[in-house]
Symmetry: C2
Subunit: 201 residues, 2 copies
């Protein structure tokens, strides 16, 4: 299994370079568990799906926590058949739901946000279960989970808008990514997370 993300931090300030580097530095806490590589467009993280989401959260909070308008945009991917298996990605196995288990109830039972980050965010996400004709049903269950988890803001065309503390929103994103497709499925999740926008949501 291969799993990871390409994600970017966009601090809307002329001092964007140190702000981005602050986010990247937060990834050092995952050294040895996540492989990473940064170029002019994005940072690649390769590792277990749930750790990758947490690393993105920590990078975003490190960049956005000191104020200003900052956006994280990223694409998470697991199980892509075009990528080679990598043992680092399977260090924490994905737990598939028990046969017959309700997907929304299972995700809610596993939903465990970290302590509050103290950073209010707006976000929008889209889940893409690939290689299956059942993708719309899985997307629908995922949206039901977001409503039950308390981070749902509203439905938009092509995506679902979320709001809440950064810890709650990223914890919900983690469940969306892990719990609505089989362990070995090809799943993509796109996320946009914003703090400090001068525009009202």
């Amino acid at each position: 299994m291969f799993s990871g993300t390409q994600f970017s931090l966009y601090p809307m300030t002329a001092d964007f370079v140190p702000a981005i580097l602050r986010g990247i530095a937060a990834l050092d806490a995952y050294a040895g568990r996540i492989r990473r590589e940064t170029d002019d467009l994005s940072t690649l993280l390769v590792g277990p799906p749930e750790l990758v989401v947490r690393a993105m959260r920590d990078a975003f909070v490190a960049t956005a926590g000191s104020g200003g308008h900052v956006v994280l945009a990223g694409t998470l991917s697991r199980g892509c058949p075009g990528e080679s298996d990598d043992p680092i990605c399977s260090a924490i196995p994905i737990r598939p739901p028990d046969p017959g288990e309700d997907l929304v109830a299972a995700a809610l039972a596993r939903h465990a946000p970290a302590p509050r980050a103290g950073l209010a965010v707006a976000a929008q996400i889209s889940l893409y279960p690939l290689g299956t004709e059942a993708h719309m049903a899985r997307i629908g269950a995922c949206i039901d989970f977001l409503k039950a988890a308390g981070v749902f803001d509203r439905s938009k065309n092509f995506c679902t808008k979320l709001k809440g503390d950064a810890s709650d929103v990223f914890a919900a994103i983690e469940r969306c990514y892990l719990d609505f497709a089989p362990a070995n499925a090809h799943v993509v999740l796109t996320i946009t997370v914003s703090a400090g926008s001068p525009t009202k949501g």
Copy 2:
């Protein structure tokens, strides 16, 4: 058929509001042909797939053309079975390839960049043909087209990196979005387009 995008402009400057509004104003040229709506996270465009890509190009060039580091990130979607049909989206029909036609050759024959924008960009894109088990073959053909079209930079995990003048890159994106899945298929294409990064690619 429903088609559109949620996209955002990220100018890395404290004066990001007027820079974003300059991009939004460029969309006025599509009034009546594209419906739009902006909130704190993104701008929704609803309209024919090829016009939507061109509108994103014009918005990006309007914001980024005067210098500085600017990124556009967006998700294009057509044929989503969860969205209602909208006649505005079908005003320019998608032309499916002729039976037996080579997808790469057909895309190359239709590839017609606008006059050069005079703006060098780096980009990365990912094509997601949904609701089909044939998605990897379509993605592979799309990458072959990008190589033949002269905008391919390199393969990255989860995406393909492009480079060139903004007109060439957006014209290639338009073909990727239109030509590698049937006219009525559910297709998602994510794009990140960057100008003025201080980091070398």
